[in-house]
């Protein structure tokens, strides 16, 4: 658990640092790589895997998904 707390702090610092270091503005015409299929998420696959995890672990929710309710499980 301790290593995860350190990892969480590192992620938060990295996120804030990246954001506060001066965000560049990427114009529409230069988003070829951002639009690559590998940079996108498959919503149906995300939903299926999210359900697999949600119904087998007690820690559901996150990234816009509601935590709890909607199923006969208590997770």
């Amino acid at each position: 658990m301790l290593k995860f707390t350190k990892l969480a702090r590192l992620c938060l610092v990295a996120l804030l640092g990246a954001h506060l270091s001066g965000c560049v503005v990427v114009p529409q015409k230069r988003r070829r790589f951002i639009a690559d299929p590998t940079m996108q998420d498959d919503p149906l696959e995300q939903r299926a895997r999210g359900k697999l995890h949600r119904s087998r672990e007690g820690a559901s929710g996150g990234r816009g998904q509601p935590a709890g309710g909607g199923c006969a499980c208590t997770n």
């Binding site: 658990m1 503005v25 672990e57 007690g58 820690a59 929710g61 509601p66 935590a67 997770n75």
Partner: protein, 415 residues
């Protein structure tokens, strides 16, 4: 041939002197001419412009799960437990994006779960009503796009054996910095109605539980190849939160002479629950190697005493310009809820919280996955089309005796 011409003339008379006025008028006289010419040849080549209600995107997916393992909440086995949690699940899904007009779109999802739940679902052990359960989920979201701001309304229904759930929600997305930054917020209310069959199959009347959640999130382009996003959410639940047909192994006190009896007692939860989730994700495309790396971390905490950490990494690698392979690894660690037990004490008060649900136990879960994707829009001429196909396999396993194999076949088309 239809020709439309619009001519705009703007003349501004400026300064006092007549000569200057004339000069200004000439200089400032603007002609804006827009000519629209559509020929039959152009329409044939480019196609007619789409108008009216149309399907923009269609996705299909079929998932098959085989779950094996044991859990103390399952009575399928001896009284002491753990009981079998073996199930097969077949899960076809379909989603569509429907464009109503330039500003309104609808996203619709329909999913069916076909579950062989002879052991993991205690209802079948109690009632023997069926050895195959079906459930259906229908979700829809209507989004209004208004010049850099999106407003959405969500609604849905989920129906399964002895359980029905309704959900409504609202959402908002603000596009900033030429859409380099997205700020989103949403809130949902979910109301579940269930027949509270107890572990003996007795139905004490319809009960319900309610979940209210709020989320805020931020997505930011850091460069031409990097996206980062984060979110925080809270959920409050109230009502009958336990799975009423679950049971807990217990030692029941008989008498001093007779000692204790191994039996099963009801699962009991508190009637309120507060949850919090925070997550962050980074996606990095590497043009030199034609690959993408993604990493994410999620932190979870609730007032049942459950603390969870989840980390995931994914590597995408193009094998050709139109075929890529993805490997994923996920690690989840959680403490159990404070009232988890695999043997309830003999002197436990009848309404003291207790659960033997293996999903709520202290555990570590890992998942390895592989996915192959054929991206036909990027394929050479004979294969090229506006759709994609993928095949994936995931192996999920927990330290407390559960293993899941998942096979998934997906199809996606744009119109």
């Amino acid at each position: 041939m239809a020709v439309g011409v619009s001519l705009q003339v703007v003349a501004v008379l400026a300064p006092i002197d007549a000569t200057c006025r004339a000069a200004w008028a000439s200089a400032l006289l603007l002609f804006s001419v827009t000519a629209q010419a559509q020929s039959e040849n152009d329409a044939a080549i480019l196609g007619e412009e789409a108008s009216g209600v149309r399907v923009e995107e269609l996705r299909l997916r079929n998932n098959v799960y085989l779950q094996q393992g044991n859990g103390y909440q399952s009575a399928y086995g001896n009284v002491r437990g753990p009981g079998s949690e073996q199930v097969w699940v077949v899960e076809p899904q379909i989603s569509a994006r429907i464009r109503q007009n330039d500003h309104i779109r609808h996203d619709i999802f329909l999913g069916v779960d076909i579950v062989t739940a002879a052991s993991a679902d205690g209802i079948d052990l109690i009632t023997e009503a069926s050895r195959v359960n079906e459930s259906t989920t229908l979700n829809a979201q209507t989004t209004i796009e208004d010049d850099g701001s999106d407003y959405s309304a969500r609604y849905g229904i989920h129906v399964e054996e002895h359980f029905t759930s309704f959900s409504v929600g609202v959402g908002f997305v603000e596009h900033l910095n030429e859409e380099n930054t997205l700020i989103n917020a949403s809130s949902n209310i979910v109301v579940d109605f269930l027949d509270p069959l107890d572990r003996r199959g007795i139905d004490t009347g319809l009960v319900n539980r309610t979940t209210i959640d709020v989320q805020v999130g931020l997505s930011q382009l850091l460069s031409e190849t990097t996206i980062v996003d984060g979110s925080i959410g809270f959920a409050f639940q109230g009502g009958v939160l336990e799975t009423t047909w679950n049971s807990v192994p217990a030692q029941l006190a008989l008498s001093e002479q007779r000692g204790t009896l191994l039996a099963r007692t009801a699962e009991v939860f508190p009637d309120k629950r507060l949850r919090g989730v925070a997550s962050v994700r980074l996606a990095q495309h590497v043009p030199v190697t034609h690959s993408t790396l993604k990493g994410s971390y999620r932190f979870y905490l609730d007032d049942f005493g459950l603390l969870g950490h989840t980390a995931q990494v994914a590597l995408y690698q193009y094998l050709t310009d139109w075929l890529y392979l993805r490997g994923t690894y996920r690690l989840h660690e959680q403490t159990g809820v404070s009232f988890y037990t695999e043997m309830a004490a003999p002197d436990l008060p009848s309404r003291r919280s207790r659960t033997a649900d293996s999903d709520l136990a202290p555990l570590t879960a890992r998942e390895l996955g592989a996915k192959l994707v054929l991206v036909r829009p990027q394929a050479p001429a004979p294969l090229r089309d506006d759709d994609s196909i993928d095949l994936s396999y995931f192996h999920y396993w927990r330290t407390n005796d559960m293993r899941v194999h998942m096979l998934s076949l997906g199809y996606w088309r744009t119109f």
